[in-house]
């Protein structure tokens, strides 16, 4: 198993939006997709996933619908709303800027100053 990292505060919402943006998923599917995308290096408390989903749905960033899972069980499927798509883009941009700046700061070496 690869070494795992803890989730940064507040990033779970962003990851959920990303996962759902790749196609409608049920809650368990969201978990699997995030772990798949992270290559299993991300530690997610399963119980914390659902409050985040409810929060996002309440904010209107994702929508839900009852459907049938692969093995024919009733499951609730989430999909991204237009507002969610905008939010994901904004968060992705700001994350990229943020990580570039932090990486720049942390990657600085003495002679470049």
């Amino acid at each position: 198993m690869p070494p795992q990292v803890d989730l940064l505060q507040g990033t779970l919402d962003m990851l959920i939006l990303k996962a759902v943006s790749l196609g409608g998923l049920h809650g368990y599917g969201v978990l699997l997709r995030i772990q798949q995308l992270a290559g299993g290096r991300l530690q997610i408390q399963q119980g914390s996933l659902y409050p985040a989903l409810y929060r996002l749905e309440r904010k209107g960033l994702i929508a839900s619908e009852w459907g049938e899972s692969d093995n024919h069980r009733k499951a609730k499927f989430y999909s991204l709303t237009p507002a969610g798509r905008r939010q994901l883009k904004a968060e992705t941009d700001s994350w990229n800027r943020f990580s570039a700046v932090i990486a720049g700061v942390l990657g600085a070496v003495a002679e470049e100053l």
Partner: protein
């Protein structure tokens, strides 16, 4: 909505989480993990299921609602356990809020509520002088022509007209309005048309005499049939055509009236109401209102009216006026005020009382709130340990505060619901007190949104006020503080009840103010009601006989009233009867300045006298002593020498050295020839009970045109006597209806309506304040005893005397009670001068009233203290200690 979908939400959430776990278990099993192990791992990795659910609910915004419902449940449960507490809190608040709502409703209806007309805010009420709101017709026409600030303007007057109803004449409330009346008010009729300037001409308009009727009359008399338009009716013997029906709720501009008929003002020339008044500049009988032109400010309107004052007054002067009166007339300045809420003669009478009452009921609401705060504080203290426990178990502070607030808001909601119910009843009582038989007060009593808003605001403010403090206090300590404190309760609780005692002091101070007010107003009413008016008001009935239209005048009228008087005397049970032109104490009458022949040194003020026209047997009927000379008899006729009776006051002022009998006096503006004084009678009140005893003179009814009332002194039950009189009247004058029949006692009651209103309400709220304070004090002392049970037990076990135990219980409240009393007395001394004008024969700082208020309070405080003190002194030391 979210609340109702609650079940759906829960089952969806369960299904979703179950799916997650099952799917994970399946995946694990598929990778080769044994099922039991997979289930264990899935539960482990998911984390606490119930916590996750709670977080989901919170994320969905359901938690607040859940908590609120839990708070409500808890509140209802705790209130049920303590029905006494709940009842006291709710009833005291209901009475406080109810009294406020009732007084505010009345104020709103009389003074604030805008008229139900188009854009009432543009309406202006005109004044013909600094403090006169009535106009004469010529002056109205002048102002109407000359002003540049009103788009239209109208004059109106409220009258009762005679409409035949079977064999009887029915007095029907009516309004005479000038041509622009309806156009200015901008209210459309339900059917037909209103009347306009074309209909308001001296000879009548093209359609002849027209009237507009109310929807009430329309449905009562014409069954709401549209065919009413064009039908005729008879008003004061004039045949008029109905041209329109006004919508329900429309009453014109005079608040408190409910007219059924609107007539063009100039039709009064034919119907006879104020017929001679229309062209007479001495008849001030019209209310004048105008609609401001768009863009014209109130300042501009006022200044325009000031400018046109002098020319308008000049154009309407009475011919042959004395120079000094002319100067006075020309100095009048027209004024303007907002006519948004219409006009009522009651306004001047009740404005001050209502403002004072509003202040008093606000104070009692304050006391009710303080009481609630006190009760809640005591409860919070009793629940000290519960709060500590819950804090220790992890309850948030905000959560606890919310719960306490819920409790107080539930109480105030219940209180205001009760208050609203109470106010429905009490507002009707207030209207009843202000209504008189002659002037029934017709007000729309359905409390409008404003009143409901007022109640709700009062309740919410009260709830927040008295809910926040105990809540904050109870949670300020923190769990450790509270639980630790319990061991040091004796010392700590001292601080807790500090606020309670401060509130008590405030309550007592306010109670002193309210009781003093109640004492002053009740004293005023009692003094006025028991005042001897100079005549004997018991067993005296006054019948107002209305003249027919066209009126019976001259010798025919004299003969008629003579016959009525004679025949009335023959009715069994009637001891004596006479004729009057003025009922005393109605606030109206007739006066003049008298020339005292042979004296020129008296000022006009001293020579002014109120006049009444009387028949024979006057002194016996009215119960007025004849002091000198004789009263009128059958020999005083229209042809005999003009004679007059004067009152004791007039005799003393005009003839200080005696010799009144035989002297001659002449009424300056209403009498042509001098009259010889033939007798002196006792002083009586004339206009009202408050006035100083005036000069009064009496003229025989045979020698004037004024009459209209028959006074009866009776012994038998009134019913049969009055029926007999009505029968006589119908025989003698079938066209003359009875205007009103009133005993003199009723007349006195009616003349004191605003005093009674003030006295009733102030006594009611004084008693309420007393009760609330009593409850407050009881609460504090009872709490003291409970809290110090252990201490009292120890002291008693160590041999403390009864007296020192009593002292222990009452001493904390004592200082605050005394401070409250002192503050209350100071407040009364500082503010009581405000009500001076409302009092009669009692000083605002009347020491007796003050002493009585304080004594009453002390008495009630002692009574309130008795129960807790008794409990304390009867405590058994052993049991008390065990409780600790």
């Amino acid at each position: 909505m979210r609340i109702f979908r609650r079940k759906q939400f829960e089952s969806d959430m369960d299904a979703e989480l179950r799916f997650h776990i099952t799917a994970y278990v399946d995946d694990l099993v598929r990778t080769g993990v044994p099922r039991a192990e997979a289930e264990r791992r899935s539960r482990l990795e998911f984390g606490a299921l119930e916590a996750a659910k709670d977080e989901c609910r919170q994320a969905w915004g359901l938690q607040r609602i859940d908590e609120f419902r839990a708070d409500l449940r808890l509140t209802v449960r705790t209130l049920r356990q303590n029905p006494g507490f709940a009842a006291i809190a709710i009833v005291s608040l209901a009475l406080g809020i109810g009294a406020n709502t009732a007084v505010f409703s009345l104020m709103d209806a009389l003074l604030i509520r805008p008229l139900p007309v188009a854009h009432p805010e543009q309406l202006a009420l005109l004044r013909s002088d600094t403090d006169r709101r009535s106009f004469n017709y010529p002056l109205f026409r002048q102002v109407q022509d000359r002003n540049e600030v009103f788009s239209n303007m109208f004059a109106s007057t409220y009258r009762e007209v005679q409409v035949p109803d079977g064999a009887d004449m029915l007095l029907t409330p009516a309004v005479y309005g000038s041509g622009e009346y309806f156009r200015s008010l901008g209210v459309a009729p339900v059917i037909g048309r209103t009347f306009g300037s074309d209909d308001d001409r001296p000879g009548g308009g093209a359609s002849g005499p027209v009237v507009v009727i109310s929807s009430g009359l329309w449905s009562r008399k014409y069954g709401s049939s549209p065919a009413v338009i064009g039908r005729t009716m008879v008003i004061n013997s004039v045949v008029v055509t109905i041209v329109g029906v006004m919508p329900p709720g429309f009453f014109g501009v005079e608040v408190g009236t409910a007219p059924d008929i609107w007539l063009p003002l100039n039709l009064a020339r034919q119907t006879g109401d104020n017929a001679s008044c229309l062209d007479n500049p001495d008849c001030w009988f019209l209310t004048v209102m105008g609609r401001l032109r768009p863009g014209v400010s109130w300042e501009k309107a006022a200044s325009n009216l000031r400018v046109i004052s002098l020319p308008s007054m000049e154009a309407t002067l009475r011919p042959r006026m004395r120079e000094d009166r002319k100067a006075k007339a020309l100095a009048r300045v027209l004024g303007v005020e907002s006519g948004r809420s219409g006009y009522t003669g009651l306004r001047n009478r009740v404005k001050n009382p209502l403002n004072v009452l509003m202040a008093l009921v606000a104070l009692v609401l304050l006391i009710a709130c303080a009481n609630m705060a006190n009760l809640l504080t005591a409860r919070a203290s009793a629940r000290w340990r519960e709060v500590g426990m819950r804090l220790a178990l992890g309850a948030g502070r905000g959560r606890l505060v919310r719960q306490f607030l819920t409790e107080s808001l539930v109480l105030s909601a219940a209180g205001s619901a009760g208050g609203l119910l109470f106010s429905f009843w009490s507002t009707r009582v207030l209207i009843g007190v202000l209504s008189t038989a002659d002037n029934p007060l017709r007000l729309d009593l359905n409390p409008d949104g404003r009143v409901i808003l007022f109640t709700a605001a009062a309740a919410t403010a009260g709830g927040i006020l008295f809910g926040t403090w105990p809540a904050l206090r109870a949670t300020r300590q923190g769990a450790a503080g509270i639980l630790k404190e319990h061991t040091h309760q004796l010392r700590a609780s001292h601080r807790h009840s500090g606020l309670g005692r401060l509130l008590l002091a405030v309550q007592i101070a306010l109670s002193v103010v309210l009781l003093a007010a109640a004492g002053l107003f009740a004293g005023t009413l009692a003094r006025l009601a028991t005042l001897h008016p100079g005549f004997d008001p018991d067993h005296l009935t006054i019948v107002w006989v209305l003249n027919s239209r066209p009126p019976v005048i001259g010798p025919a009228a004299v003969n008629l009233f003579g016959r009525l008087m004679e025949r009335a005397r023959a009715i069994p049970g009637v001891q004596s009867a006479t004729v009057l032109s003025t009922t005393p104490l109605t606030g109206g009458g007739w006066d003049d300045i008298f020339a005292i022949l042979g004296r020129s040194d008296l000022s006009e003020n001293q020579r002014e006298a109120d006049i009444n026209t009387i028949g024979t047997s006057f002194t016996k009927t009215m119960g007025i002593p004849l002091l000198e000379g004789r009263e009128f008899d059958a020999a005083d006729t229209a042809q005999s020498e003009p004679v007059i009776l004067i009152s004791e006051n007039a005799a003393r002022r005009w003839f200080p050295s005696g010799g009144a009998i035989g002297a001659r006096i002449r009424a300056e503006s209403s009498g042509r020839e001098p009259r010889r004084i033939v007798g002196v009678v006792g002083n009586t009140k004339y206009l009202n009970l408050r006035e100083a005893l005036p000069n009064t003179v009496y003229i025989p009814y045979t020698q004037t045109t004024q009459k209209g009332y028959v006074a009866l002194r009776t012994a038998a039950p009134l019913g049969s006597t009055l029926a007999a009189f009505r029968r006589i009247l119908r025989e003698e004058a079938p066209t003359m209806p009875v205007g009103s029949i009133k005993t003199m006692r009723q007349q006195i009651d009616e003349s004191l309506s605003s005093e009674r209103l003030t006295a009733y309400i102030s006594v009611f709220i004084g008693v309420l304040a007393l009760l609330l304070t009593c409850v407050g004090l009881y609460g504090i002392l009872a709490y003291n005893v409970t809290r110090r049970t252990g201490e009292i037990g120890i002291r008693m076990a160590l041999g403390a005397q009864r007296r020192s135990v009593i002292w222990l219980v009452v001493k904390e409240a004592m200082a605050h009670t005394i401070a409250g009393l002192a503050a209350g007395i100071a407040a009364v001394l500082a503010t009581s001068h405000i009500v001076r004008a409302m009092l009669y024969n009692v000083q605002p700082n009347d020491p007796f009233t003050m002493a009585a208020a304080v004594a009453l309070l002390i008495l009630v405080c002692a009574a309130a203290a008795w129960l807790p003190v008794r409990r304390a002194t009867r405590l058994h030391p052993i049991e008390a200690l065990r409780e600790e």
